[in-house]
């Protein structure tokens, strides 16, 4: 693979391409007393089914807004966000979110938190089957033992695992993660990255994930979307990450391309789109 093909210039896809998940001329602004405040402007991006895409950019660049357009919590001011050709109008379990603060219900046990999601999506399934799905996914993230604990009795890393198990248990078409490992210590973070990658390899759902960590993106993603600074942020560059899967952290870090890509991303973030006020 030649490095010139790795770095795509801003997406030059034709506007009529219907991808699995696509942003077509998407702009989003919020009304303020001083008139509309543009957050995103002219975002074009097509994501294929089963792709793992990471988003990176400085705080305030509208990454979370971009994700909330996919999860359906917000609507684009102009342009369209479509999943399998259908415009996204409201939140739904086919685009499940792993929230930044885990968003587990503190008055329900780990098991009940996941069960609530499974039961909401398949209310008519037999009870035994729903419970089996919950157990299977808790086992997948290594939390069988903690099933009857409440969220405040387990660690942050375990909570994030529950949140991921809850999200995957309902078989979403798109998994949306908003900086899922930001609050975790380095070791827990690496463990969870590996688990997430393994689960994704087995399930192959489409993943859209915000991160602040370039190494995390290089380890996980097929493509890294780098965003320009707000207001009126857009996609600055999309970097394809060429490492073969399954990936091994040590192995890819020995690859000379790794540093080339890493430096390129760093250059984007800290030179070309340096944040002026921090």
């Amino acid at each position: 693979m030649q490095s010139t093909t790795l770095l795509q210039s801003p997406p030059a896809q034709s506007r009529n391409t219907v991808g699995f998940l696509s942003f077509d001329q998407v702009s989003k602004s919020f009304p303020t007393p001083k008139g509309p405040y543009p957050v995103l402007e002219n975002v074009n991006l097509t994501i294929e089914e089963g792709e793992f895409v990471c988003l990176i950019g400085h705080s305030g660049c509208g990454k979370s807004t971009l994700l909330s357009l996919v999860s359906g919590f917000q609507q684009a001011t102009s342009g369209s966000v479509t999943l399998k050709g259908e415009p996204i109008r409201e939140p739904g379990p086919d685009r499940m979110v792993v929230f930044q603060n885990y968003a587990l219900l503190p008055w329900r046990t780990v098991f009940e938190n996941v069960y609530l999601a499974v039961n909401a999506v398949w209310p008519k399934q037999p009870e035994a089957q729903k419970r089996a799905i919950v157990r299977e996914h808790l086992a997948m993230v290594g939390l069988t033992e903690a099933a009857d604990k409440r969220p405040d009795q387990i660690s942050g890393g375990m909570r994030q695992r529950v949140s991921i198990a809850r999200a995957l248990a309902i078989r979403p078409e798109v998994l949306i993660l908003d900086e899922p490992f930001g609050a975790l210590d380095a070791i827990t973070k690496e463990e969870l990255q590996e688990e997430l990658l393994k689960i994704w390899t087995d399930h192959r759902c489409t993943v859209l994930m915000i991160t602040h960590d370039i190494d995390e993106a290089l380890f996980l993603a097929d493509r890294l979307v780098m965003m320009t600074n707000g207001p009126a942020a857009g996609i600055g560059e999309v970097m394809t990450i060429p490492f073969d899967r399954p990936r091994d952290r040590v192995q890819i870090m020995e690859d000379p391309q790794y540093y080339e890509l890493r430096n390129h991303a760093l250059d984007f973030l800290y030179n070309r789109f340096a944040h002026d006020d921090d």
């Binding site: 999860s71 919590f73 409201e90 939140p91 379990p93 979110v97 929230f99 609530l116 999601a117 909401a120």
Partner: protein, 283 residues
């Protein structure tokens, strides 16, 4: 100390004296200040009434006067009509409070949930509710009497209207304070209404609802006394006070006031106990 350790070593059954001693050793530090405080209060009151500065009888009169001594010793007597022991008087008042308060809890919580989940409704009802909750319990009495024509339903209505506001307003606030994250989970999962209420709304708003319920039980008890004083001719601790005042049995009033305070304290503890069982405080 020495004796109690010795008895334990010999594993003999503990005597009453030594178990009291043990209890005092454990709890004494916490119990002493309130006991001394109450004693000082009673002494000051007694001295004040002996000094002749006031017509108010001292606490000792509860025992020295024959009427109150009888009321104190026989709370369960019933000579028919309004001539009943203080237990029956209190029970009659409590019965009214139970009815009015239950209605207030049902209406307050359901309307609170409705208003809390609907921003438009919240804005529309805010001024009315804030206005109505400022109306004192006693001011509702004539309105209730005119509207309902009879003492008994009017008394219950006064309880209801006094205690419904804190429940309603706290429930509304509790629903509005549900963390955005939990609502987002409910939205993305498209939780059914029932699942949302049981798993998100009620558990999240419960501490607020209980705050409202606790404020309301105190208000309800205050209101029934006020209401009964105005509504003549019913069995109840409030009217009992009014009756005693009319006949100048001042010690009886003091005795009734002690009953009222005690019952109020018990009601508050009851709701606090329910709260600790149903919605324990979270870390």
């Amino acid at each position: 100390m020495v004796t109690s350790t010795r008895t334990r070593l010999q594993s003999r059954p503990k005597s009453v004296v030594s178990s009291i001693q043990e209890f005092w050793q454990k709890q004494g530090a916490g119990l002493l200040p309130p006991i001394l405080g109450i004693a000082a209060f009673l002494i000051v009151w007694q001295v004040f009434s002996w000094s002749g500065l006031t017509r108010l009888p001292g606490p000792l009169s509860l025992w020295t006067e024959q009427r109150t001594r009888e009321l104190l010793l026989y709370p369960f007597y019933d000579r028919g009509g309004l001539d009943k022991g203080l237990f029956w008087q209190t029970l009659a008042s409590l019965g009214r409070v139970a009815k009015g308060y239950t209605a207030a809890a049902v209406v307050g919580i359901s309307v609170g949930v409705l208003v809390g989940t609907n921003d438009w409704l919240n804005k529309a009802t805010y001024p009315v509710f804030q206005f109505l909750r400022m109306v004192a319990p006693l001011a509702w009495v004539p309105i209730a009497l005119v509207a309902l024509q009879q003492n008994q339903p009017a008394a219950i209505f006064v309880i209801f209207i006094t205690s419904v506001w804190p429940i309603l307003i706290n429930t509304t606030e509790g629903v509005r304070q549900i963390p955005e994250d939990y609502n987002n989970v409910a939205k993305v999962l498209k939780l059914s209404r029932k699942d949302y209420y049981l798993n998100v709304l009620f558990p999240s708003a419960l501490p607020y609802i209980f705050t409202g319920l606790r404020i309301a039980i105190g208000l309800a008890w205050l209101a029934i006394i006020a209401a009964e004083i105005v509504m003549s001719g019913i069995v109840g601790i409030g009217f009992f006070i009014w009756d005693a005042y009319q006949q100048n049995y001042i010690s009886e009033i003091i005795l009734a006031v002690i009953y009222i305070g005690g019952v109020g304290l018990l009601l508050d503890r009851l709701i606090a106990f329910l709260q600790s069982k149903i919605a324990p405080a979270r870390k």
